[in-house]
């Protein structure tokens, strides 16, 4: 019982600092903790009250007398009033908060393209942080590209909630043990993948005598098929200094056709469009799935379950895919949500807030946020990994609570999960490194087209629906051609392309 709770609790604390741990057990680096602006701690000044709104993913929200919270307050000379909000309705709540004007001192918005937020930024509702940021070294440690991508009108109005650029779920993950069993090479092209799927379907790799393998289990996005053929990441692609809409690219059409072939051959579940995430994952855990796109660390969840019954099971995340257009490893935007400070907050409080965030971005601060206090919330194991205690669970210490506010940049964040053996983690790090080398970026991150905000969702839905119908054989591929032609003649849609390009050149 305890072990399971421990593990579950452990899985909530995805170790962001594994790197540091291996280097040397939570010891602080040479640079002073808290760094610049850390003058007020214990100087007898009144703690500055700061209110923050954020979402959280632990079963309970940390209370006002939470030890980690108190520690943060002590270290930064603040009094924090955190409005923990249920993630399920965070979008509605944030819109309400923004619209009503009852904003806390630090506001987290999950959707960077939130038009209300954008409007309000343009109308001057939030602080322009650009002139202040350089005083905060730990924040400056965030990757340059992430700061660039989160600029609006050339200025930094937001602090990004930083995430790795690689390790996300955008590439397939293959059962390596099955590949070895059937003497197959690691697939690199779509054709390779098809052959592997065929082998999985026909040659009974799990050895149970039944042809019940599911070669490919899609997970909410099959974009990699188009992506590798187009050598693009998402809807937009950069060519000759301009943005091209990949909808019109031949690679997209080929990708749809390939998926159609896969579906027709029966290599995907017949009703994959309605499968929910938990269902997919549960299915993967039964050991019948050959290829399953997922995050590198989340696949460990599946694998950990599988090796109980099948110790050989081993999922290999692909490092890249290849096609005539080149190698392909799509990157993630590099952030997940942003923080803003309303103009109504006075300037010295603004600086205090930045100081607080800076502390959270330091090794010490981030470790405190994710793991808590050593000895109370965690102990350090011999492999250098931190092991969480019961108390951590009780106090809701997790990356999913405090870690939603205080972020530190770690490229291997998605390579590690508690319980993962060291060799797997090392392998994952290598994969992340390889992916970085073949990285294909999305040039449109942070770019907005007003028209697209208004009419975009309908078009996106139509496109996805049409693609799915074609893949499932309900419509012929010619339907796609017809649709593409209609888009070419659609004035509104063309306007979107213009606007995106304008935004792109303005950067």
């Amino acid at each position: 019982m305890n072990k399971r709770t421990n593990r579950r609790l452990g899985t909530m604390l995805a170790g962001g600092l594994a790197l540091i741990l291996l280097a040397g057990c939570g010891s602080n680096s040479a640079s002073p903790t808290g760094s610049a602006g850390q003058t007020s701690a214990g100087a007898g000044e009144k703690p500055v009250e700061i209110s923050i709104i954020t979402e959280f993913n632990t079963p309970e929200a940390p209370g006002p007398d939470n030890p980690v919270l108190l520690e943060f307050e002590k270290k930064t000379g603040t009094k924090l009033n955190i409005l923990w909000t249920s993630p399920n309705s965070y979008g509605d709540k944030i819109n309400l908060v923004l619209a009503s004007g009852d904003m806390p001192d630090l506001v987290k918005v999950l959707d960077f393209n939130n038009s209300l937020m954008r409007q309000m930024i343009k109308q001057g509702a939030f602080w322009d942080l650009t002139p202040y940021l350089k005083d905060y070294p730990h924040l400056m440690e965030y990757p340059e590209s992430t700061w660039e991508k989160t600029k609006i009108d050339g200025k930094n109005y937001v602090i990004p909630s930083v995430r790795p650029s690689h390790g996300g779920p955008w590439l397939p993950i293959v059962r390596q043990d099955w590949l070895e069993k059937l003497n197959l090479e690691v697939p690199r092209t779509l054709d390779d993948l098809f052959e592997v799927m065929k082998a999985f379907a026909e040659q009974d790799p799990d050895g149970n005598g039944a042809a019940d393998t599911i070669p490919l289990l899609p997970r909410n996005d099959l974009g990699w098929a188009e992506g590798v053929l187009n050598h693009s990441n998402g809807k937009w692609k950069e060519a000759d200094g301009k943005l091209i809409d990949t909808t019109f690219e031949p690679g997209t059409r080929e990708g749809i056709e390939w998926l159609r072939k896969v579906y027709a051959a029966g290599y995907m579940p017949a009703d994959y469009p309605i499968m929910k995430e938990t269902q997919s994952e549960d299915l993967a855990k039964t050991g019948k799935v050959g290829i399953y796109p997922n995050t590198i660390e989340a696949i460990w969840r599946v694998q950990a379950e599988l090796i109980k019954t099948d110790p050989e099971a081993n999922f290999l995340p692909l490092s890249y895919l290849e096609s005539a257009a080149g190698t392909y490893a799509p990157s993630s935007p590099g952030f997940s949500g942003v923080f803003l400070v309303p103009k109504s907050v006075p300037e010295d409080k603004l600086k205090k807030i930045l100081e607080l965030m800076d502390y959270g971005a330091s090794e010490e601060g981030f470790a405190l946020a994710c793991f808590g206090i050593e000895g109370v919330h965690y102990t350090v194991g011999e492999d250098g990994f931190k092991n969480a205690t019961e108390q951590a669970f009780k106090d809701s210490v997790s990356q999913s609570s405090f870690g939603k506010i205080f972020e530190r940049s770690d490229p291997y964040l998605w390579a590690y999960r508690t319980g993962m053996p060291k060799e797997v983690f090392e392998r994952n790090k290598t994969i992340v490194d390889e992916r970085t080398q073949h990285s294909v970026d999305d040039p449109s991150v942070g770019l907005i087209s007003e028209t697209w905000l208004k009419i975009g969702p309908d078009y996106t839905k139509k496109m996805n629906d049409l693609k799915t119908k074609i893949i499932m054989g309900q419509e012929p591929i010619e339907a796609w051609d017809r649709y593409v032609d209609s888009l070419k003649a659609d004035a509104d849609y063309q306007k979107v392309i213009e606007e995106m390009n304008a935004a792109y050149s303005a950067k």
Partner: protein
């Protein structure tokens, strides 16, 4: 004397309705100003007075949307099917329950059939999936056992509406019986006695005594239901919707969700809401007139 008692009567009556009246005034009418933003390009930062006026622009956007007719159709069909097929069910089951002699059995059944009402749509769609999924659902497994091909229940646009209606019937019938049972409890048993003495069989009794006894509740409920004809349960549709059935599944709620709510486009979503409300109002007026023509009380 009559005049004096007349005023006295009414005074206390007004006292009775006062709390309710105040409630509606404060909590329903005071916020009503919000509807006006459907004629604005509302920006919360600028506030109500500073936000620019755009007249009927949002409605034009709505009507010009090429999918508008499809969305309208879907909404109407799902609602009408719900009214035609679901609405009578709780009445029927309530009648059946009412006729049970064995009290204990009645109690047991009554306590069971209303339980699905408490399950969220998330659970129900999960169970639906478990039963009907093409790749592993129980029903399809059985079909295969009997040598048939598996059937795509969930990705077939042809039966989507029927599927939704069936789900609603299953989920809400039991709960819906409660109000009718309460109404039936108020029927004078002497009326039943009289009918029995006159030689009426069970079915006759139901037709001539029970049903008329709950008629006004049925009519009221029906008119109210028609008033909310544009309101289809968002969660249910959203969960069951997928790319294959999108043409028959998209309704106003999902449309607004996609296009407005999350993005903070308050004006647009309020405008769509206003449109739905107007349609609902027309339905209520029409239904009420119809009811009165048939000699019923009507809603008002």
């Amino acid at each position: 004397m009559k005049v004096v008692t007349g005023i006295r009567k009414d005074l206390f009556l007004y006292a009775l309705i006062l709390p309710g009246f105040l409630y509606f005034l404060l909590f329903k009418y005071v916020p009503m100003w919000g509807i006006v933003i459907s004629f604005q390009e509302y920006s919360p930062y600028l506030g109500f007075w500073q936000s620019p006026w755009v007249g009927f622009e949002h409605f034009a956007t709505l009507f010009n949307n090429p999918d508008f007719l499809i969305i309208f159709r879907n909404t109407m069909v799902i609602s009408m099917m719900n009214i035609v097929f679901y609405f009578p069910m709780p009445i029927l089951v309530a009648l059946m329950l009412n006729e049970l002699r064995l009290k204990r059995f009645q109690r047991v059944i009554q306590s069971v059939i209303y339980l699905p009402h408490f399950l969220s749509w998330v659970i129900i769609s999960g169970i639906t999936f478990l039963l009907l999924s093409q790749s592993g659902g129980i029903v399809n497994k059985l079909l295969v056992e009997f040598g048939r091909e598996p059937y795509n229940f969930l990705t077939n646009p042809g039966i989507f509406w029927q599927l939704l209606t069936a789900q609603s019937i299953w989920k809400e019938t039991g709960w819906g019986t409660i109000i009718f049972l309460a109404a039936m409890a108020g029927i004078d048993p002497q009326l039943h006695e009289a009918a029995r003495i006159d030689g009426a069989g069970r079915l006759r009794q139901i037709w001539h005594v029970t049903l008329p006894g709950i008629r006004n509740v049925i009519v009221t409920l029906l008119i109210l239901r028609l008033g909310s004809i544009m309101d289809v349960g968002f969660e249910q549709v959203f969960l069951m919707m997928n790319s294959a059935v999108t043409d028959v599944a998209d309704v106003f709620e999902t449309y607004v969700y996609r296009n407005g709510i999350q993005q903070g486009q308050f004006s647009y979503s309020t405008a769509v809401g206003l449109f739905k409300s107007v349609i609902g109002l027309l339905m209520v007026i029409g239904a009420n007139k119809l009811a009165k023509r048939y000699g019923e009380e009507g809603l008002y």
